[in-house]
Amino acid sequence: MKVIKIDKENWAVGLEKLHASYRLFGPVKEDNFHNFKELDKGEQPDFNFSNTLLSPKSLVHPQSEVMFEYSLDEKQEDHHVMKEIARDYSPRVVIGIRPCDAKAFLLVKRNFDTHEYKDPYWIKSYEATTFVGFACNTPAGTCFCTTAGCGPFHEDGLDLLIVDVKEHFLGIIITKKGENLLAAAGWNLESDSNAASKQIERIKQEAEARITSFVSTDKLRIKTTMELYDAPFWEDVAFSCINCGTCTYLCPTCWCFDIQDEHHGCSGVRMRNWDSCMYPLFTQHGSGHNPRSKKMQRVRQRFMHKLKYYVDKYENGIQCVGCGRCIRLCPVNIDIRRVCDIMNNFGD
């Protein structure tokens, strides 16, 4: 493990240097919560947060994203032709992403970057981005990352992991991208890796010990899909659901979108917007038939996708990193931990 020491007085200086080679994004406090925003020169990320209210998924997969533009004006030579719009895929760095949110990109990648299909917008955005994580020294009561294939100091999906050890920062170099970023920032104080590793390990263990909520996922894989699908508990789970899109929009691992054309007068754009399996329109067929016309069916779909279909399809755990946003902000307190346990223990 190669660890770099970053003096706190050098932090802002390094960030300023980064502006020469990257667009910077970081957590900023707005109103009463933190969200990721592009940082202007001189603007500092604010690390006095547990996690951002919205996940940073929009940095790679924006809620609304224009893909093409077109003209319907037949006087134009290229009317009715979809033209790709110019996009900014210059190097970017996301500073201060929590390990759970960085791991989430890897879960989403399994959908956007496969052997058969490659989503050019997602892949180019993702590849242009360097992820600088900020280890979670004090996880929240709703965090269950350690049983969701992740953890407060998890490194998967990160290029660099910064650990705040009070007197200074320690940076764990994970990838070449991370190394390049350190060079651009001028953070080059090598630390005594042995001592640093021990220090990090101690803080990591303290952080993990603070996590008090867990899910059991060990039996999801061996459950029979149709038995879970037909289980009687879905009516109970779904009762309180109001079928809003809060859980899906806040979730770092929900990736669904819808494609729409919008035009004003003769000019228009083809765009994609986040969509949600909680909405009836999500599955409305052209014929008018809706295979998920009932609330219970939609609630079931969300949990079956995250906790069963994904588990079976990718054989790599649940489609959840345990960030706890859906638990904290569901208007009616539907708790994925509770549902996961019901599913995992069903029929035992």
Binding site: E30, E262, R328, P331
Partner: protein
């Protein structure tokens, strides 16, 4: 209000045992502070999970529309007014319901309380008019009246307006309130200031529709924003579309909104969604002397015509 739960459970058990109802709707304790989960009991065992405290702000009338069972429902003042509205609008029949009335002393506002503390709130408990908030390195006792949901501070219908049984004596209604101070403030703004106020209000909206879906009035089989043949409203987060959604939704609630606060409470972004409906509520009061959901005997002003209806707006 903690004292209500024994009576709620006793009544619910009786109704279920005597098969007077197929289910009773109430709340169970939430898994995070300051929110309880709407929960239905079909057996006396389920009733054991019921709770009632100052975190039962979600309007349970929202769960009644088009149900066919016989239902027991625990209803505070605003819930009961939305039950009346549902009955008037033929979303449920009075005879399907057994209304367990709860005289309410107000619900606490999780946004207000969360904003008061830097760290994570781990536990919130209550005793009488005191709310105790505990978190990492802090413990503070607050007066409940200082942390009420916005709508509860101006509520004049804490007692249920319709019920089959009450769980306790009626409480005293709040008097001498300036109920529309917030609206007056906006009314006194210039058009430009108003525009900016509402634009700022919506700047964080993510179009998740939690406000709409938590609202008992929003039961349309297909909401206008979900119409797609033709599509009326864009799906992106273009401010024009976001505004269109909120403005039209508010107008659909004119003369029907009980200011229960469910929309504001549900919003994950902490937007005070009520600011769109408050003016309409005030106008209905001033123009028609009407407050929604108080009586089964009268049609709401916007679904009847009376020659004396105000028409000054026709120039």
């Amino acid at each position: 209000m903690l004292g209500y739960i024994d009576k709620i459970k006793e009544t619910s058990n009786r109704l279920l045992k005597e098969s007077k109802v197929d289910m009773v709707m109430c709340f169970r304790k939430g898994t995070v502070p300051m929110i309880n989960e709407p929960y239905f009991a079909k057996t006396p065992d389920d009733v054991d999970h019921f709770v009632w405290d100052s975190n039962c702000g979600i309007n349970l009338a929202n769960y009644l529309a088009d149900r066919e069972e016989k239902i027991g429902i625990v209803a505070k003042g605003c819930d009961s007014r939305n039950i009346v509205t549902h009955i008037i609008e033929n979303k449920i029949k009075r005879e399907q319901l057994y209304i367990i009335g709860v005289p309410c002393r107000g619900m606490i506002d999780k946004h207000t309380i969360s904003d008061m503390f830097e760290g994570e709130i781990k536990e919130v408990t209550e005793e009488g008019s005191k709310i105790t908030v505990k978190g990492d390195g802090f413990k503070e006792t607050l007066d409940k009246k200082d942390v009420l949901q916005g709508n509860c501070t101006t509520c004049v219908n804490r007692n249920p307006v319709i019920y089959d049984e009450l769980v306790a004596d009626l409480v005293e209604e709040q008097k001498d309130l300036d109920r529309y101070a917030d609206v007056h403030k906006i009314e006194s703004m210039s058009p430009g200031e108003k525009w900016k106020y509402f634009d700022d209000l919506l700047s964080n909206c993510i179009r998740c529709y939690a406000c709409r879906n938590a609202c008992p009035l929003c039961y349309c089989p297909t909401c206008f924003v979900d119409e797609h043949r033709p599509q009326w409203v864009g799906k992106s987060i273009d401010p024009v579309d976001t505004r269109t959604f909120h403005f039209l939704r508010a107008y659909h609630c004119a003369g029907r909104c009980t200011d229960c606060g469910a929309c504001e409470r549900a919003c994950p972004m902490g937007i005070n969604v009520r600011m769109f409906t408050r003016k309409l509520e005030k106008d209905c009061m001033e123009l028609f002397g009407w407050e929604a959901g108080l009586t089964l005997e009268e049609r709401p002003p916007l679904d009847t015509y009376r020659p004396e209806d105000p028409d000054d707006f026709i120039k």
